[in-house]
């Protein structure tokens, strides 16, 4: 066979343009793998390193990481903090504050994450994610200090986890 000479390069799409297309594809019944941006899901997920496998949401519950359109054309991938009727409160694992949206603004559910370029997925229904979620959400009162220490001490010395 011939050598692989296809040029590989990185294309960056603007979220506001790209994610509506992703939502359309999800609604067609496909699943979508996306590279993640931002630091709002630290410490588990890292900007530009990890990927998420998304699916059209069927049922959502507190604790699930979801793709949500919190403002028109502004999408976030955050964890559901609480659901009251039609109102959903979201909080990124790496965030202290919350965002609000309606149930219909939840446009994607996460099947799992690919971390650190691995081929194996960390599924959201597997022990690793569930254990991490259990501990991390309960550490909320200490989150400010843990994240601060992680960012200012841990990462400079040991790098991201």
């Amino acid at each position: 066979m011939s050598k692989t000479v296809l040029t590989t390069s990185e294309i960056q799409f603007a979220n506001a343009e790209f994610l509506p297309e992703v939502v359309k594809i999800l609604n067609e019944g496909h699943t979508v793998t996306l590279r993640l941006r931002g630091y709002s899901m630290r410490p588990f997920l890292e900007n530009d390193r990890d990927k998420a496998l998304l699916v059209k949401p069927s049922s959502i519950k507190v604790g699930d990481p979801v793709l949500a359109e919190v403002n028109p054309l502004h999408f976030v991938l955050h964890r559901i903090d609480s659901i009251e009727g039609d109102n959903v409160t979201l909080r990124g694992d790496g965030n202290l504050g919350v965002e609000h949206c309606k149930k219909e603004n939840i446009v994607g559910a996460v099947i799992g994450f690919y971390r650190k370029g691995r081929k194996e997925m960390d599924a959201t229904d597997a022990w690793k994610w569930r254990t991490y979620s259990y501990i991390w959400t309960r550490l909320l009162p200490l989150r400010r200090y843990i994240l601060g220490a992680y960012r200012r001490i841990w990462i400079p010395i040991f790098g991201t986890i």
């Binding site: 066979m1 000479v5 400079p156």
Partner: protein, 134 residues
């Protein structure tokens, strides 16, 4: 040569990307994208069933003002790339020779202009003090 079944073009944010129809998952961290001209050729040869390099040359010459020799060179390179990408099948896929002449094959190559090439330089080792307070 023949276009493999189910590999359809789809436009996402102005990029022509190949999506395998049967595939449940669409992996945006690893996509095959085509520029305007190769996307056009892809759609044409998809209609044709089987195609040869001569067909590609004909299509290119009809669509663009370009001499046949250049068109042929581009057609061979493109078909070879499609072969490498695994989106066409057949015995007459030309050998991929673009390793050394990447820059020469102009028009139909999948050149993506607005790409931000990742510059991954390994962070330099710093002393503990600098790492903490630098």
């Amino acid at each position: 040569m023949k276009v493999k079944n189910g590999f359809n073009l789809r436009e996402v944010c102005g990029e022509h990307i190949i999506v395998a129809e049967g595939d449940e998952n669409i992996d945006f961290s690893n996509i095959i994208s085509m520029n305007e001209s190769s996307a056009y050729l892809w759609e044409e040869v998809q209609k044709m069933g089987t195609f040869t390099v001569d067909n590609l040359v004909e299509l290119i010459c009809n669509q663009y003002e370009i001499d046949e020799a250049t068109a042929r060179k581009d057609a061979v390179a493109l078909a070879a790339q499609w072969g490498t990408a695994g989106i066409i099948e057949g015995d007459d896929i030309p050998e991929d020779q673009s390793t050394n002449e990447k820059e020469l094959t102009a028009e139909t190559k999948d050149d993506i202009k607005e790409d931000v090439l990742k510059q991954e330089s390994k962070p330099k080792k710093k002393g503990l003090f600098k790492r903490l307070f630098g």
